[in-house]
């Protein structure tokens, strides 16, 4: 074959180069290389909810008190061994004994207090607190060196779930700037960080849990999905995290898994013609979303609500709108007859790269809407500008607007979604409905079946009665895992990659 000839000739020509430099491969014993989409801005434990930080830090360097079992969403012990609720605002946690941080500092109640204090720092933003703990203030008090009491400023029936995001960092860590050298109780410690190039983690002796197989992990980053995938092909890396569906071409090494993200277009329901439910329904019915799946990945599933299954409050009985352009047209005619200005141009605020295929998706939708007579105008923005349109007060409130959005519930409880996205007072909400508000409030202040029912009813009302969104997909991620490593990515891979879970193939 000519390919072979070419290969031989070029190889010959490059032989001088080859003598001095060989492609870096990750084949040395017990070492793995993981290629990420981006370099973490820091390794600050209090900001570990930033996914690029979390992927390196969480459960490798630092560990939380509790974590979610990715298979069923249940809270399981890590650095806390057991817990119980004292009253509506107060919980007690027993701490794991005999654990030390990698610098030798013992892990005890004082260390827990220090880690929570780190969240409250004022010299920088700790997204962990802002994003997942909401406006709740947590106070930690020492009961004994191995037991703490955590009091929340408002009733928190799911506190153990919320604590899964708080990383226990060593009290010896300076509280100044974002740390680039975190110290935790995890099975690995930071080796080196060559800025812009790579981060290495080394296995620690004497880890409190089972000793992991992998002795050394190297994180590198490439922003191009095709290059990440090629690196695993060439043996330059063992895991290519998050590759595009189009690059996931080899079923033997490419894994598709639900990544916890749900996509939609938020509808600003206050402006005509979008304040008419028939128009909102027509927007949904005009789209053949099953046919458009290949743009984002064949494995995605239709979404009828903004949380994935396995989330407390997910309503499994909801059914997506069927593709029915004739029905959509009929609804629009009916609305038009009632004086609704259905011909008004609707602006669609999009962001390229919010997910793979994001811009294509909008173009396809625009073309389908045009077929039923809806005039939708795409306006793409960079992230900074697009985010302005995500938050109240919304810019250009009088323009009928759809907003491209992707949401990750993160903690498996619908309360982390419903209030912000659908409540009349939610910062990202384009909906004003008293009944939804009531259901959210009921759910948030109860537990068990009552909580679940209220959230389910809220989702049903949002989808069936109000049609508050253009509902799209529960998304999937694709990750390529090379032959040297035995590991399957789960829903958790978006925010953490526990090296200890990886086994080396024989």
């Amino acid at each position: 074959m000519t390919f072979q000839h070419l290969r031989g000739a070029t190889a010959l020509g490059l032989i001088l180069f080859a003598l001095t430099g060989v492609p870096v491969a990750a084949q040395s014993t017990g070492a793995v290389t993981i290629v990420l989409p981006e370099e973490p801005p820091s390794l600050e434990p209090c900001d570990a909810k930033h996914s690029s930080i979390g992927r390196v830090v969480i459960r490798n360097i630092t560990e939380p008190l509790t974590r979610l079992d990715p298979s069923n969403g249940e809270v399981i012990p890590v650095l806390a061994t057991e817990w119980n609720q004292i009253d509506t605002d107060t919980w007690r946690f027993k701490l794991r004994e005999g654990v030390t941080f990698s610098d030798g500092t013992p892990f005890d109640a004082k260390a827990v207090i220090a880690a929570f204090t780190r969240l409250d720092r004022t010299d920088m933003v700790c997204n962990t607190k802002q994003q997942t703990l909401g406006g709740i203030d947590l106070t930690v008090t020492e009961i004994s060196p191995t037991e703490v009491e955590i009091t929340s400023s408002k009733p928190s029936p799911i506190l153990p779930t919320m604590l899964t995001v708080v990383q226990m960092s060593s009290p010896s860590m300076e509280v100044k700037g974002a740390s680039r050298a975190p110290i935790g109780t995890g099975p690995y410690a930071l080796g080196t960080w060559r800025a812009g190039q790579d981060i290495t983690l080394d296995r620690l002796d004497g880890y409190w849990g089972d000793a992991p197989q992998v002795a050394k992990a190297t994180f590198v980053w490439r922003s191009e999905s095709a290059v990440r995938a090629a690196m695993v092909d060439q043996g330059e890396a063992d895991v290519a995290l998050i590759i595009a569906a189009t690059d996931a071409t080899n079923p033997d090494i490419d894994f598709a898994y639900p990544n916890g993200e749900t996509t939609r277009l938020r509808i600003n329901t206050s402006t005509a013609p979008l304040n008419d439910v028939r128009v909102r329904k027509a927007l949904n019915m005009a789209l053949d979303l099953d046919a458009l799946k290949p743009i984002v990945g064949d494995e995605v599933t239709r979404a009828e609500q903004l949380v994935p299954p396995n989330t407390l409050g997910y309503d499994a009985d909801l059914r997506p709108f069927a593709y029915d352009p004739a029905g959509a047209k009929a609804l629009l005619e009916e609305a038009k007859a009632d004086g609704v200005p259905v011909d008004t141009q609707i602006d669609l605020i999009g962001r390229d790269g919010i997910y793979v295929g994001a811009a294509e998706m909008l173009q396809a939708m625009q073309a389908m809407w045009a077929e039923v007579g809806l005039n939708v105008n795409i306006r793409m923005f960079d992230t900074g500008n697009w985010l302005r349109y995500q938050n109240r007060p919304f810019p250009e409130p009088n323009v009928p607007m759809l907003g491209q959005d992707q949401h990750d519930n993160l903690l498996g409880d619908a309360s982390f979604t419903l209030f912000n996205k659908y409540d009349s007072d939610g910062v990202n909400s384009g909906l004003w409905d008293e009944e939804v508000d009531k259901l959210i409030a009921t759910g948030e202040n109860t537990t068990g079946a009552e909580r679940e029912t209220a959230f389910k009813q809220a989702f049903a009302r949002i989808h069936d009665d109000l049609v508050a969104d253009v509902f799209m997909y529960h998304m999937v991620g694709y990750t390529r895992v090379g032959p040297r490593v035995d590991w399957k990515p789960t829903i958790a891979a978006n925010s953490e990659i526990a090296i200890a879970d990886m086994k080396l193939a024989e």
């Binding site: 690059d247 458009l292 743009i295 811009a359 073309a367 306006r379 793409m380």
Partner: protein, 304 residues
């Protein structure tokens, strides 16, 4: 040059210069081919765009990333793109926006850059110093930041897109013209003209511009491609051309994730950009010959 060395007829002195220029074009095959390609482009941008617009916008997921094929007429001759639209139809339809934006941007930066470059090259003084230092500022100012600022101050529109694209390209023309003028104005023939009482304007028009033009045209031709690619890089900010309108640059960018699976989605628009650049360069090389003062006698009516 040998092909224009044979004797020329003097039958129609009045029209000789035009006909000779045309004659030289016909003899310069590559330049002729380039000219033909550009005329074809002009037709696509006008007539073709009107004819093929429907095939260029409708989504057809069954033909998503379809390989180039004959069947269903010529629609999928160059394959289907990521939404199953005919690449051929989109190339033809997209020619209008593409050529419009690129031509406007290149002409703006060329005109402004060349004018300022002439001024700076001829007049040395405070004003020239200021212009040169402002050029330094523009050269160090990232284009993306310029784009965001224009977006915030002026809002998104094709005109503002052209402004951004033009601003960032002014320095190269300015500095090229200045460098050449600084050298040329010391040449004996310029001094001679000045000694004979020619005005600065006359010298500029008759001696400097013709000598500077070839380099400018060369840069402008290559810039055409750069401007198209840059445009697609700005559309994610909302500053570029927004769908359902598109340029060739946007077509190339949209095919980026599919290079390994469907090369034709990026290849053909890339080829179109390349061929246009190539044609412009060939034409400018030919024009270089026509405008070269050393060769000019061949095309002008001989006096007496």
């Amino acid at each position: 040059m040998s092909q224009i060395d044979h004797p020329m007829t003097m039958a129609k002195p009045a029209r000789a210069s035009t006909s000779r220029i045309l004659g030289s074009l016909i003899q310069d095959r590559p330049a002729l081919a380039a000219c033909a390609f550009l005329i074809l482009l002009a037709f696509s941008a006008t007539l073709g765009a009107a004819l093929m617009a429907p095939q260029a916008t409708g989504v057809n997921m069954a033909m998503r990333n379809a390989a180039p094929q004959l069947g269903e007429g010529f629609a999928y001759l160059l394959g289907g793109d990521n939404l199953g639209r005919s690449v051929l139809a989109r190339l033809v339809t997209g020619a209008r926006t593409t050529l419009g934006i690129a031509t406007a941007a290149v002409l703006c930066s060329l005109t402004i850059g060349a004018t300022l470059g002439l001024f700076v090259g001829l007049r040395q003084g405070l004003m020239s110093d200021i212009i040169m230092r402002l050029t330094d500022v523009i050269m160090s100012f990232p284009a993306l930041l310029t784009a965001l600022i224009v977006l915030y101050l002026l809002g998104p529109s094709p005109v503002n897109l052209v402004i951004v694209l033009a601003i960032t390209r002014i320095p190269v023309y300015l500095r090229t013209v200045r460098a050449e003028v600084l050298e040329l104005r010391r040449r004996p023939f310029v001094n001679a003209a000045r000694a004979m009482g020619a005005s600065e304007g006359w010298i500029t028009r008759h001696h400097l511009l013709p000598l500077v033009a070839p380099t400018l045209l060369t840069i402008a031709s290559v810039d055409f491609a750069a401007v198209i690619i840059a445009e697609s890089g700005l559309s994610f900010l909302g500053l570029g051309i927004q769908p359902p309108n598109f340029t060739w640059g946007a077509m190339v960018a949209a095919g980026r994730p599919y290079i390994a699976q469907a090369w034709w989605v990026t290849f053909f628009p890339g080829l179109a950009i390349m061929l246009t650049t190539l044609s412009l360069t060939l034409l400018s090389n030919w024009l270089r010959l026509v405008t070269d003062p050393n060769q000019r006698w061949r095309f002008t009516r001989s006096e007496g």
